[in-house]
């Protein structure tokens, strides 16, 4: 009771009963219930059209979410993820329009993302700053810079290949390249978090930074690395987003950082660090997105959609409370 976090690893101690199972997988259950409810209310919900839509919209915020989950596990946040995505994505469009080749463009975008990630990480470790407030500052900064450079005007004249990055159908009617990229990122990062030193260091630093440091982990270097990887993922999300939009939109992806954080937390991550995992975060973002998608399908007033989205965040964390206290 005093330390709810402990419950995470202690399931071994318990005989597994059905109530336990129910609560452990509560997020998954909420997700399934949502899907069933929406498909009963509207036959359009499970239509190919809508599923296709859903899968094409999720990757951007989804990739940002898994990046931010990794950060949350390390005990840090990034509010500037959306701005990094917009910056890198717009830069990519700019280069693509200038005629650079696909590998150059994508690499450049990722390097830009890593650069901003480095700035975030560097300031945080060098000046022992709270990541929340620092990235709030860099969010304004990065966004302001890209808006100033472009004068807020969309970069146009996107070449075909760039548009196809996100929008190529793969086999079936409702799977597109960006969905595949998202799936690849999820699989890769799940592996990294569970099976590599880098991933386990994230958990170590997030759960007890001092213990990690005294175990010989260079936590400063590690945190910078994590921010760089997260920045790279945000940049990737930005490239896919701009490809989807067919322009370089410097004002795009505002608030994605906060939203992604909400998704990660619904999926089991915690601000205090050390807990959370990628599949959980994916379920979290799916829950939020399916909900928003369902509301749109029902054609609800857009303000009501906003209110209800807030409601689902509240409900999700309350359900999570019961999971934690199972």
């Amino acid at each position: 009771m005093l330390n709810p976090k402990l419950n995470d690893g202690s399931s071994i101690f318990r005989k597994i009963d059905s109530k336990d199972l129910f609560l452990k997988y509560s997020v998954y259950i909420v997700l399934v219930v949502l899907i069933i409810a929406f498909s009963l209310i509207s036959p359009l919900f499970l239509s190919q059209a809508n599923i296709g839509n859903f899968f094409r919209q999720v990757p951007t915020v989804g990739i940002a979410t898994v990046g931010i989950t990794m950060l949350l596990v390390t005990g840090r946040v990034d509010l500037s993820a959306g701005s990094i995505a917009a910056f890198a994505g717009t830069a990519a469009v700019f280069l693509a329009v200038k005629g650079f080749s696909p590998p150059v463009v994508i690499l450049a975008a990722i390097v830009i993302g890593m650069f901003w990630g480095f700035i975030n990480g560097f300031f945080i470790v060098r000046f022992k700053l709270d990541s929340f407030i620092l990235t709030l500052g860099t969010d304004y900064m990065i966004r302001g810079i890209i808006l100033f450079i472009t004068n807020g005007i969309y970069v146009k004249g996107v070449p075909d290949w760039f548009y196809l990055l996100s929008n190529t159908k793969v086999g079936v009617n409702f799977i597109f390249t960006n969905t595949l990229v998202f799936a690849a990122v999820v699989i890769a990062l799940t592996y990294v978090m569970n099976h590599t030193r880098f991933g386990r260091y994230c958990y170590a630093v997030g759960s007890n930074q001092e213990a990690a440091r005294l175990s010989g982990i260079n936590i400063q270097k590690h945190i910078i690395k994590v921010y760089m990887l997260e920045g790279a993922l945000a940049a990737l999300a930005g490239v896919l987003l701009m490809s989807n939009l067919n322009v370089g939109a410097p004002s795009e992806a505002a608030g994605v950082g906060l939203f992604a954080m909400a998704a990660a937390i619904i999926g089991g991550a915690a601000f205090s660090g050390g807990v959370g995992n990628i599949p959980g975060a994916v379920v979290g973002i799916f829950t939020l997105e399916i909900f928003r998608n369902g509301l749109a399908i029902l054609g609800l007033n857009s303000f009501i959609q906003q209110a209800v989205t807030g409601g689902i965040i509240v409900i999700a964390v309350v359900v999570d409370y019961y999971r934690r206290n199972r």
Binding site: Q48, A49, Y154, V247, V256, L298, G299, Q306
Partner: protein, 323 residues
């Protein structure tokens, strides 16, 4: 609210054998969009169409992606026609082409797409022309007052929107056209962006008024945030009647500033007419009747003292709202 009727019409979609039209405005709220929605819904009902109405909240962080998605959705669910207000000509260009290739007719409104061949018709006000009209009227007004020089400010919700870019361009063109050689003696300040926070445009304009005593005119490029912010800044700086304020689109908020001289005049687009025309054009396309490429809906110049009267007619067109 509007929710009840919408959800019904949507869920009937697959069951009925009525032809389905998609109607995708940028938002469904506010003094501009609301009458448009009402008109479209009424007209579609009269003509026997199943109108699927799609939009997203103003604060939606993935708005553009969502709206492109609505287009895709319309294509996949075999709609016969789509009416869309594209947020950017390039952004929606490809998707509109894909729709055309899939045999769906597209009508654009509010703003057009880049490749005009891909859509059947455009309904609505040309934002450049609307801007030009306002610029002209403003210049004439200032000329009438004998003003030959000074500084001019601009305020918008979001300067990155293409509509805002067009309006800015139009305003300058119209203004310079009327002013002629005198145009040189007017200078334009950095445009203000307030993200629909009236207090932000107010603050920014207060700063500009303080540091530019020769500020003579302000254009607000649309939406209640900057409209209110600009009026209140003029008021708080005691510049009512000294700084002339020109705006876009009728909203009841203007009435706040008429008595005190915080608004000089507006150009208004008849959004109800836009909504109705869109459905009519769709209907013609489906019935294979001849259509025009462009259905311009003229803007109307309304001076401050006529705004109240003008608003009375206008408000009848609003969907069921509290105000």
């Amino acid at each position: 609210g509007c929710s009840g009727s919408d959800s019904k019409s949507t869920s009937n979609a697959s069951g009925s054998d009525k032809k389905t039209l998609y109607f995708i405005p940028i938002v469904d709220t506010g003094a501009y969009w609301s009458p448009m929605k009402k008109a479209a819904e009424e007209r579609a009902k009269e003509l026997g169409y199943n109108l699927v109405f799609k939009t997203s909240p103003p604060s939606e962080s993935q708005k553009n992606e969502k709206h492109i998605g609505f287009l895709q959705e319309a294509i996949t669910s075999n709609a016969v026609g789509i009416a869309i207000a594209p947020m950017d000509p390039d952004m929606f260009d490809r998707k509109v082409k894909e729709a055309k290739d899939a045999g769906v007719s597209i009508v654009t409104f509010d703003a057009d797409v880049k490749t005009k061949d891909n859509r059947a018709a455009y309904v609505g006000t040309d934002n450049k022309l609307a801007g030009e009209e306002l610029g002209k009227k403003a210049a004439e007004y200032l000329k009438g007052k004998g003003i030959k020089n000074g500084k001019i400010a601009l305020a918008a919700v979001n300067l990155t929107q293409t509509t805002m870019t067009y309006r800015q361009e139009g305003i300058r063109k119209g203004f310079e056209g009327v002013m002629g050689a005198d145009a040189q003696s007017f200078s334009w300040l950095e445009p203000i962006q307030d993200n629909d926070q009236a207090s932000e445009s107010k603050r920014q304009l207060e700063g500009q008024i303080t540091s530019n005593p020769d500020l003579i005119a302000v254009f607000s490029l649309g939406s209640e945030g900057p409209d209110t912010g600009v009026m209140e800044a003029i008021k708080s700086q005691g510049k009512a009647g000294k700084i002339y304020h020109f705006g876009f689109d009728y909203t009841p908020t203007w009435e706040n500033g008429i008595k005190e001289g915080l608004i000089t005049g507006i150009v208004d687009q008849d959004s109800y007419a836009i909504g109705k025309t869109i459905i009519d054009v769709m209907d013609k396309i489906i019935k294979k009747e001849k259509i025009q490429d462009n259905y311009p809906v003229a803007v109307k110049w309304v001076e401050a003292n006529q705004i109240v009267e003008y608003g009375k007619d206008k408000q009848k067109q609003f969907t069921n709202e509290t105000k």
